[in-house]
Symmetry: D2
Subunit: 351 residues, 4 copies
């Protein structure tokens, strides 16, 4: 019953196979190899776009490189107050970005509303040189709450951002989970809706350590290669990073993996609601937030369940949490089984 994170799962079999296949003979280092070209082509096909692609081993690196690329050191990035870049990257965006500023904004279910962004832009504009000015908007897809932005929602936010000269970044650590849920293409959910730069994550979806910075307009990718190198993020045996993407994306494998993870989250949410446990936000992706009796914690853990209890402050003002309740985050993955889910629900039901 591993619901602590989708990064507790291992490597999906199709990706492990791709790694093994890649381990044949010699190949030039640092991305100057045919497998890297193939993976880039594959990403281009997925996004229907001749994008510039920069693969790196961590999501924090992808985010920090992206934000530093579109925001000057004297600029601000608008994001949700609970965004991963804000709370869980130990200041990587600030480090890569030469001291840029993240502005955390409120929003239910870790989603930003257009009027919130509009107000923030108004506040962080114009007072040069005294104030940092808003230079980028970063949204997470799927969000840290497991919700997703629909294409029209993205477009609405991006339109506001672009109207004021901000670039739009998407933290797509769980991009596959979002796409698997929506009836839109990857292109429609990104550049066609106004996303300029994407952290495209494969790790949580089933890879070992593979993320990519995707710059949709190749003309805006200048010097990203240097950024990546000087950040120590350019792998020498780069073909194995490319191989992960090749295995992940080939023949829609990534969406099959994501659909399974999402289905497991649905099953969890359905079961928990059936027990009367309040599921906090829409379960759009592979994360379920639920209020469980504090008294259950010890019992669940004793039975082998693994998950994180999150601080109540995370929930925001619109969620009422009883004194005897805890806010539990459950994350599913490609490796989650029906059996795990059902056992967990049974434990909750037994109370």
């Amino acid at each position: 019953m591993n619901f602590a994170s989708d990064n507790t799962a291992g490597i999906a079999p199709g990706i492990m196979d791709a790694l093994a296949r890649a381990n044949d003979g010699f190949a030039l280092g640092y991305g100057n190899d045919s497998l890297t070209r193939a993976a880039e082509r594959l990403i281009g096909e997925v996004f229907e776009c001749d994008a510039a692609v920069f693969m790196v081993p961590t999501g924090t690196a992808a985010n920090a490189l992206s934000l530093a690329h579109v925001t000057p050191p004297w600029g601000a990035v608008l994001c949700h107050a609970q965004a991963h870049i804000m709370t869980d990257e130990c200041g990587a965006p600030e480090f890569y970005g030469g001291g840029l500023k993240l502005i955390g904004l409120p929003g239910a279910g870790c989603k930003l509303a257009p009027e919130t962004v509009e107000r923030a832009i108004a506040r962080y504009s114009g007072h040069v040189p005294h104030q940092v000015n808003a230079a980028a908007l970063s949204i997470t897809q799927a969000t840290e709450a497991g919700t997703i932005y629909r294409a029209e929602e993205i477009a609405a936010l991006a339109d506001i951002a672009h109207a004021h000269g901000l670039a739009v970044h998407m933290d797509g650590a769980r991009f596959g989970n979002a796409i698997a849920r929506m009836n839109v293409t990857a292109a429609e959910a990104t550049w066609k809706a106004g996303v300029d730069i994407l952290s495209f994550g494969a790790t949580k979806g089933g890879a070992m350590a593979a993320e990519a910075v995707v710059v949709f307009d190749r003309k805006r990718a200048d010097f990203m290669g240097e950024r990546r190198k000087r950040a120590g993020q350019l792998l020498s045996k780069h073909r194995f990073l490319a191989a992960q993407f090749e295995g992940y994306l080939n023949d829609g494998y990534w969406l099959r993996l994501a659909r399974h993870a999402n289905a497991m989250a649905d099953r969890l949410a359905y079961g928990l609601r059936g027990c009367g446990a309040p599921v906090v936000w829409d379960v759009d992706a592979n994360i379920v937030f639920v209020l469980l009796p504090r008294a259950l914690d010890q019992k669940l853990k004793a039975a082998g369940a693994s998950y994180y209890v999150r601080p109540n402050t995370l929930a925001g003002d619109d969620v009422v949490i009883g004194a005897d309740q805890m806010l539990v985050r459950l994350v599913t993955s490609f490796a989650t089984t029906d059996h795990e889910v059902d056992r967990f629900i049974a434990l909750v039901r037994a109370g």
Copy 2:
């Protein structure tokens, strides 16, 4: 005939097996797993030392983290003018180190002599706050020329450094090749000789992407965890990084891989000398620098040989290079075969 770099080789079989073994079930992310503990223990055993270990996917990251850790932004790192940190990391040490300064020093065979270091320390000391002061010495083992520092040589340099308050860093991207050649232990070649912090490389030796910052005195490792995280260098599925080290180090595998690479370099050097081609420096590790007729270049490449011609300036003043000669770097690896070596020599002999 792949002699371009040891990073053109793939993953050594024993390490691929370790990755496969690690892909079993769930494990907590970010290094909070038992395989990481096991790999750390193994590194501790190799170095006979309760060291603090921080694994990362690239050598540039290991170097930049190490140097930033022992040098303040207003400090200088003394290193060879041809050191990898100086010439091939696109300013990563300066980036991680908040603008620290690298001071490139001369030395035959990419090795630093004690008097060179002594003079540099004298020059970069005392003029505070106007000048940056020498804060660390960085040496490469094996060097970029394929030579190695013997334990006594390291100790002589480290004694000078420590006497003036400098920390000693070793870039051990090819540490295995150096140890495989010398009749000393890893401990004797590092902390027992005065090395404070080591970039311990496994990638060039046969791993996919695995390096470790080893801080020999655990008390000096404070905040390295934060450094690694904010640099985007903490892998979420960390067990697969640990697995590479486990496979690499277990049962002396790393030294067997290195001995093979070194033997192939010996074979190359022996054969080239037999053809009258001047081998430039001592072949201590898995790199051979040789002067070949420029006229051969096209022929060798047409026959499928892969290598880099390096600028004459690399050689320094003590090496005389004829106008019709080119300075060729040949690097061997665990995957190099007798056959490749012999074919290359035959081509050179044929002229």
Copy 3:
């Protein structure tokens, strides 16, 4: 009627005289002169403490140097959401601090309450290496709202900070105004109450461009000299910076200047209240926030009054601002006259 800022005033006569006196003969540069020693001694006397003193020409520099000195790049500084360091320094603390994070906290009258700080420390502690950890608390004295922290209030905050290992910084751009109001010594309002490092401002008080970083425990001042130099903040003809402090502090001049500025603010507040204009916060120093009819703006400006209308959001939730009201900031200085104040009040009264 210049109430835009205390930095619109010129140089107080006693300080101009000191500059002229200092311009006699030759003196070694970079602070190696007797006038600098004398100014340092004078600051030591004012604070009854053998403090380490680093003079710089701007308050932003003093703040940024101070915060960078007590906070690692992976640390957070807790401060009020309206603090100058947060809103008006274009990211200088982040730049100097290598990407450190400022956490803006709420509080009426720009003051932080102990429980607010306590909660913030709890939130920004322990989740290493994923989150930045609270490393310093910064308070402004007098605050941006013109209120002041009493010595006991400072001690209460500092006790909390120290109990959790945080350093305490005070932005004393208007330190003189605060001291002039309270019946305590400069020592009692700083290090005796737990302040570790102070940005001691003279510019707003009457100097041309003179601020000092005061590190009360000299043992904690290591490398501040290098920080200042590499920030381009070490003046070559340093004696003229020292001369400003000498003129400012000698014989209690700074407090006389501050008392005048404060008295002018009192006179303003008294007069405005007399006209029925709501003065928003306690007028503790030389700043008055008042709600005036929007209709008055044009008339006041036409009559030559200079001031800033601040956004309503600055006021916080506990201040009710009518749709026809504007939040006006009035700042007095050593150069403000009774006449200016009375004219302004007359204009408001006339409506």
Copy 4:
């Protein structure tokens, strides 16, 4: 006999007067005042150019801002190995420039030759993303050796730089001394010869603390205001910085001050040569390097002479320094008198 530095002199009378004049009434802060506009206009007139001007209090700040503005963090600045930015700014360019790299080049009399620059550009070009690439050339005028670049020499260097996409920066800490010597205009010696950005120093020439970053092509000045602010280099009472420039430049005062300093250096050099003391480099500006008997050091200092003995390494290979000789730097200023000079020469002659 103060020859330690031109920054040991005080403030020239005409500049002190300008400060006093400026101290009249109120003026908006941060450069939003009429005196600042006037000083900018004056600088524009001096350079016959609608340049963007950013005044700061130190030369290190002017240099660091300039270099950071024209060089990305992954770029290199080519400069003389003895340039002030290389040896005496404690890493300020690297700090402001996010870790950019300075490449120190050789050259007699602290001057760079075209072929040296050409070779360096060739070496630091093209190997992206592994190497930092040359992005700017920085020359000092007058140089640290007291020599100057003639307009044609600047043009020759700038042509090479521009042909390879490098920007050209001039460290003009002693720009006045250079112009006073040459029969060319300030425009001819800067932008007309290809200089893109100038650190225009007034401090050494007679101001208190006044330097300006001059961006000749206003379109290339974007965001310099933000850079200056976040570096803590924007003075609040900016009119007093502007006043120094106004006093310095008005009616050719700066050139009269510089001519006097240069004349004093000439007199020194003439007298020293007359005593048989070898003057090392051309005395083009206000600095004289001379070889004096070591035995004289104590006697000169006892008689009250103040100067620096510089390390022999500074002189380079083409200057032969006897074991009993010392390399002495003598700097004159607007405040140096005939009498001082003559006394010093008499002491040397007396032996």
